[in-house]
Subunit: 318 residues, 2 copies
Amino acid sequence: MHTIGIDVGGTEIKAGLVDEAGRVLESARGASNRDDLGALVDAIASLAGSVTPAGGNPAGVGVGVPGLVRPGTGRVEFAPNMPALRGAAVGPLLSERTGLDVEVRNDADMNAWGEFAAGAGRGSSRLVCLTVGTGLGSGVILDGRLYEGASGHGAEAGHIVVDPDGHACGCGGRGCLETGVSATGIVALARERIDAGDATALSVAGGALTARRVRDAAAGGDALAIGVWDDVGRCLGVACASLINLLGPDTIIIGGGVAAAGAMLLDPALAEARARAYPPLFAACRIVPAELGQDAGVVGAALLAGRRARESSLASPL
Amino acid sequence: MHTIGIDVGGTEIKAGLVDEAGRVLESARGASNRDDLGALVDAIASLAGSVTPAGGNPAGVGVGVPGLVRPGTGRVEFAPNMPALRGAAVGPLLSERTGLDVEVRNDADMNAWGEFAAGAGRGSSRLVCLTVGTGLGSGVILDGRLYEGASGHGAEAGHIVVDPDGHACGCGGRGCLETGVSATGIVALARERIDAGDATALSVAGGALTARRVRDAAAGGDALAIGVWDDVGRCLGVACASLINLLGPDTIIIGGGVAAAGAMLLDPALAEARARAYPPLFAACRIVPAELGQDAGVVGAALLAGRRARESSLASPL
């Protein structure tokens, strides 16, 4: 059984035809649209068509979106960074266009499902997957089910408070994990320190400041950049300690574009989590990098749609 | 069906005979023993006997203890404040003494179960119960089951980090919720401010500083004490916001001796949680005081033992 996975971002949409083992058989990318729902649905439907081979008969479509989704409705209820999605009945609209069952979820939930079903989280009973990119998304999987919480909105670990007096967060709160551990947070911290007067290789280079540039500068030995990554990693470790003490996960997966920094982020995070979490709970938890890279969202969306298709066929065998 | 509930504290043990509706039919109290397991088991067995009426045939015993317990084993694995319990097979020892099935859990889990089954959390699908006393214990109930986490240790909300640079915590971490929101935290904060030189009604009174004295001083209009409770309440609200964003509970219950301060603690907590949590998740969650008071642990332990007895009888009807 093959299914289609779609990963909707603010600038780009990724699509893939995925088999039951999580292998991406066909893939395509196209431009997204932040503001126009009609154009966005057109783009998604077109990409779904382009990864469907002639005569192919995918069993369903999974779609990950940057917003809060009420499961079972396919409707997006909260999408701070993408106006086109606000209140949008993405599931019904796409189902009508494609003639297929459509499962819509938060994109970080889809990443978590991908890693759980076919990546670093296989076999986990209590999984937390943190996706560190422009912001910080998360998914929690308990006993083989995505944790849905209030109204099915999922687990928003990016908005646990790590510094009550910290920076304002896009969610309206303050000092959320996302303000410290994200590309946005990395750039803001580097900017603060540069403005405070530290003259370093990073500060004198031209061009816009990005998390990637801070990463490259740290890899090149720049002291300010190394300090930024160390502090961001320790902040991630504080959050891991809280998650370990609260949820007792067996696995925490760190994924997303920022996680590509590897040991620069994970080493201080591990050290900080070890120093803070209950020893028996820390010992019972692996903190590991994601395995699926940029495909996690597409694979997770497709495999979650596949699970839904199997459950539907079991529920109504005729 | 009646069952016995036992609530083991560091200085006192409470026992009760409880009916299926959570009513306490008989109750007794006795001295605890922090250091001697034999004396502690004797005291528990004696209290269990004293609440059992002649000819009574309770269906089981539930015991809440201040430590981490691996469910199904009745063995305490971690008990920082009560050496007698460390590594103790409390369940098997008591079962041998009483001839009854014994269910042992963390005391805050028992409080949570009491409030869920017979108190402020009735009907909840996703409940967080915080017990604020000398420390801060917690229990999480999802879909009618106590959340067990790694090795069944439960959810330790008292050890989520609310201030990474905060005070050292008894768990070995730093800035845990318990360091700010607990009788210990209240006294420490009041002491800090008194030592900083604020001369107030509270600071000039004689006698040891206790959370109760800080409460009474606040009720009497003392500015320093009012400020302490306000800050403690806001710290509790920060943690509630994190719990709401992460778990999307429908109910957060605030119980324990410190919660008897009522609005002095809850009003700033609610205001802070409202200002920080995702609006749709905050709107879906009640933050309410506990209803069972000091009986919560006894009632919860007895009702959890009752549930176990019913499940056992269903599993083996003969």
